[in-house]
């Protein structure tokens, strides 16, 4: 299985290995210094939560991990982010290759205006998988993986926009699972959802943890406490504290973390 070791898809049982190693990362939007000297090590098969007040850089950071942040034309970065020991900013590292390994779920559910089936099959198709049988299998497996198969199996060919917001978000998660990523980035995935849908997505995240490494940005501290193993607290573009979630929420070292956790600002 040498080949799949390189792909990084079957090494999930080795709990000690690090997926993302961020070293001295700085990022500017034009003149605005948005991320300052970030150093973070994210392990696989864990849920890592990133919390912090609005504008602290948490969304920017997660979008840097798959280089989506570069869609803003004025962005400049320095430092390194090693994904599976390879710097994602290397010139010969194509963003498409990176994003094939690292999936992303966005704040607002953003299914394509296509059928449910076509939404899920989109990723495999653009990467050259055309065999109808294999696509069928991938679609079913991904929808099961996102715990929405039973709700949509009879209407795979209806428009994804006919679903509720919570269902749409799970379709987006399924779409992300369809290319069997190594890591899933989630940028406040429940902020646009009602409490019941939120609960379903949270349960789903717990299940996905067994097979994927998950990094989730959230402004909801209870959510971070409920679902994550590790938590990083961002403030003004810096990492204030990064530790096991129970430590962060019970005995934080930094005064600012404590203030934020106890709701004194933000």
């Amino acid at each position: 299985m040498v080949q799949s070791l390189e792909n990084g898809s079957n090494t999930r049982n080795d709990t000690s290995s690090i997926v993302y190693n961020t070293q001295q990362l700085n990022l500017w939007y034009g003149n605005h210094h948005a991320l300052k000297d970030i150093n973070l090590q994210i392990k696989e098969n864990e849920v890592t939560a990133i919390i912090g007040p609005s504008g602290c850089g948490k969304s920017t950071y997660i979008k840097t991990l798959n280089r989506m942040v570069e869609l803003v034309p004025t962005v400049k970065t320095s430092g390194k982010i090693l994904y599976r020991d390879r710097n994602i900013f290397d010139n010969d590292y194509g963003v498409e290759e990176l994003r094939t390994k690292v999936g992303m779920v966005f704040q607002k559910p953003n299914p394509f205006p296509k059928s449910i089936y076509d939404n899920i099959a989109y990723g495999p198709r653009i990467h050259g998988i055309k065999n109808k049988k294999i696509l069928d299998q991938i679609v079913e497996k991904s929808l099961r993986g996102a715990a929405i198969w039973d709700e949509v199996k009879d209407r795979l060919h209806t428009n994804a926009y006919s679903l509720s917001g919570g269902q749409q978000q799970r379709i987006c998660i399924a779409r992300c699972l369809a290319i069997e990523p190594d890591v899933i980035l989630m940028d406040e995935p429940t902020s646009a959802l009602d409490p019941i849908s939120t609960l379903k997505v949270e349960e789903l995240i717990q299940e996905l943890k067994q097979d994927y490494s998950i990094i989730i940005v959230t402004h909801n501290m209870q959510q971070a406490a409920r679902i994550s193993d590790k938590t990083a607290f961002f403030l003004n573009g810096e990492v204030v504290e990064f530790d096991n979630t129970d430590v962060i929420f019970s005995t934080p070292e930094d005064k600012r973390t404590e203030d934020y956790i106890s709701g004194r600002f933000g």
Binding site: M68, G103, P113, Y122
Partner: protein
């Protein structure tokens, strides 16, 4: 003492309200004027032309005698013209719009292209005719063919298609683009598989409206020397031809009074042609409008 005397305010109020009513009526009649003009225009053309709309009218070529004059060559010629203008103008227009909306960086070159397009939209059609005459008819030696006329008309309506396509592309929300990039899709894959399918209703609606402008344009055809009296149908893209507005222009100019009715009948054919195109546009707009 008070500065505002409420009694006099109330007195004046009656006047102000009356004036308001009078002006409301004036504005209403201003609006009615345009509608009235449209109604008279349609009434005149229908009553003048309907008598000449016989099956023979569609089967005959042009003639010196009003009773024998037909629109066959012009109608078929206009359809031929559309077969050149539609693909050329849509490919160029949509390509330019994709470039400007999805690829172009914010720089001077891009600003220049944008500015250029909006100025091009204001150039009179007769000037496009001069361009077509010099470049397509003479320099490229296409003669007064379907192809030369088609290229000229394509450039004429290009700005309209570009602007409509730009608006349709801009209306595709950014988050579906991001979702596609997030899956590792390349830019072109995202454009072809996500952006264009969503933008196509808007693009087609704009394109059909632009094409209907090309169907009715006369001046560029006259300038590039499209003939009127033609007793054959076009056989290829380099063949001579005539078009509906050319034929109408010729009939309208003729001194014999009866040709006015023939011209009106020709206008009716042109209007029905346009009506069909616009109905298709409305159908597409309603049928394929996507919701987000």
């Amino acid at each position: 003492m008070k500065y505002v005397n409420h009694e006099s305010v109330v007195k004046r109020m009656m006047n102000r309200l009356t004036i308001n009513k009078i002006f409301k009526a004036i504005f209403f009649f201003a609006t009615l004027f345009a509608l009235l003009a449209l109604a008279i225009l349609f009434y005149r053309i229908i009553t003048q032309g309907i008598g000449y709309l016989t099956p023979e009218f569609f089967q005959n070529f042009g003639s010196r005698f009003p009773a024998k004059a037909g629109i066959k060559a012009a109608l078929i010629g206009s359809i031929w013209l559309m077969f050149v203008v539609a693909p050329v103008s849509i490919i160029l227009g949509v390509g330019t719009a994709i470039y400007l909306e999805e690829y172009a960086k914010k720089n001077r070159l891009t600003d220049f292209i944008r500015m250029n397009i909006s100025n091009l939209a204001g150039v009179p059609s007769v000037v496009f005719g001069l361009l077509g005459l010099t470049i397509f008819v003479r320099a490229l030696s296409l003669g007064n063919s379907v192809l030369a006329a088609g290229f000229t008309m394509s450039l004429l309506i290009l700005p309209v298609i570009i602007v409509a396509s730009q608006e349709a592309i801009r209306a595709v929300p950014n988050d579906v683009r991001e979702a596609s990039y997030g899956m590792g899709a390349t830019k072109w894959q995202t454009v072809v598989k996500i952006v264009l399918p969503s933008a196509i209703p808007g693009i087609l609606t704009g394109a059909i409206l632009a094409l209907s402008r090309a169907v009715g344009e006369t001046a560029p055809l006259i300038v590039i020397g499209i003939p009127v009296i033609i007793q054959f149908l076009p056989t290829g893209l380099l063949s001579q031809f005539t078009a509906l507005p050319m034929q109408i222009y010729d009939w309208a100019k003729r001194p014999q009074h009866d040709f006015q009715f023939v011209a009106a009948a020709g206008i009716l054919v042109l209007m029905i042609f346009l009506l069909i195109m616009n109905s298709i546009a409305i159908f597409i707009r309603n049928k394929f409008s996507k919701r987000y």
